[in-house]
Subunit: 238 residues, 2 copies
């Protein structure tokens, strides 16, 4: 008898950043068979894809898929277009302002594709690493969106006619970056194999100045832990 | 002065079938600048893509794009997998049963991508040709899903922080196939350049036996009009 086959399946959206890597560890610790979905969406920070694969392998995911989707073809974001990524910006402190790094409807699209994938493998649990505490102000990271999407997917899929409904898990939703780092440490996440920076150099080293780097640094500093990625980048430079 | 530039933009999901072709005509008649989005999603009935392009050109759409998305990679549908399309099935009469031709989360994914595209061109109106009257029982064609999705997209995009909200238009939602045919005739839609069949032959001629062909035939018969596509197919065979 294969003990694995009786575990419930979940689909995990994994970017290769620190948040989604912690989410994968959380889903695994909850006893789910984790089927990882990573998006290749024409993002400039392609180094994420490699980090996502390593996290999946290291954390013992049940399957790992890269889904290619060219949302960059529409333009409209500093992450997929040739627009400069803002450095040392104030967007994090200005809660109501949606920054230029927002990718139009990204989480809506990612969650929708995850729902389609989940249906085909008979999973009804989807995990996403959004947080509405230390975040960049993206509307698709807020709790009211996640709740509304859960309703939409339950009305627009086979779940509409079944008892078992979709659950969108966003376990970091109310966590600060510091709490996320500590949770990851507790669950044994190797942060050295995560990538967060919006604008890494050609070796994949973080810029240290974009919103994402600033939030990450805040988390590690608060947790009183050195970020292994930053340490490694420093050792290359010295 | 360019009169066109003051018109409101809309994104139209166009498959190349009769329903979405009528929807494009409706959106145009409402005065929208129509930006057409067609999905190449690994469907077996690729002839739809050609029909969609011809409809866009003939109806004077402002732009036309094919968005490639490999939702077929997950499997799970007779439309993208190597599963036989049911012929002369009863699924149309059995309202509660979701047929095997259902593509997991298709309209959820299509509408999400449309929302992303709409954001980049500053459109807030999206048109989709779903109907919950003469339909195959797909959950993502029902009014409660469309309403819920409209809420989700308004919470998960820039619209969340703006006064101008998204509107998902489904003008065929309560129309029978007969009424859709008559609406199309009224608006001058060339039904000879539409494709509906789930399982066309290598020349693109309809099988006449799948759910989609049966519903289309019902519409034309009810409207008292000969379907030009069927007439053409018959003339090839004779």
């Amino acid at each position: 008898m294969n003990g694995k086959s009786i575990k419930r399946k979940a689909v995990i959206l994994l970017s290769g950043g620190m948040d989604s890597s912690v989410v994968l560890a959380i889903a695994t610790s909850m006893g789910f068979d984790c089927h990882v979905l990573t998006f290749d969406y024409g993002q400039r920070h392609n180094v994420e894809l490699e980090a996502a694969k390593m996290q999946s392998v290291n954390q013992g995911a049940a399957s790992y898929r890269i889904f290619k989707i060219d949302i960059g073809m529409f333009g409209g974001s500093a992450l997929t277009d040739h627009i400069d990524v803002p450095k040392n910006s104030v967007s994090i402190d200005d809660e109501m302002k949606i920054p230029i790094t927002y990718v139009p409807a990204r989480n809506l699209i990612f969650l929708s594709v995850a729902a389609g994938f989940a249906e085909t493998i008979n999973a009804r649990d989807i995990f996403i690493g959004v947080s509405s505490v230390d975040y960049s102000g993206y509307p698709d990271c807020r709790p009211e969106f996640i709740q509304s999407f859960e309703q939409s997917v339950n009305l627009g899929t086979r779940a509409a006619d079944e008892k078992l409904k979709f659950k969108i898990h966003a376990p970091l939703l109310t966590l600060t970056k510091e709490e996320t780092v500590l949770k990851g440490i507790e669950l044994g996440v190797d942060f050295g194999n995560t990538r967060t920076c919006y604008d890494p150099d050609k070796n994949g080293n973080p810029c240290g100045e974009c919103d994402s780097c600033i939030l990450r640094a805040k988390g590690f500093k608060g947790a009183g832990i050195d970020d292994p990625v930053v340490l490694k980048a420093k050792s290359f430079k010295s």
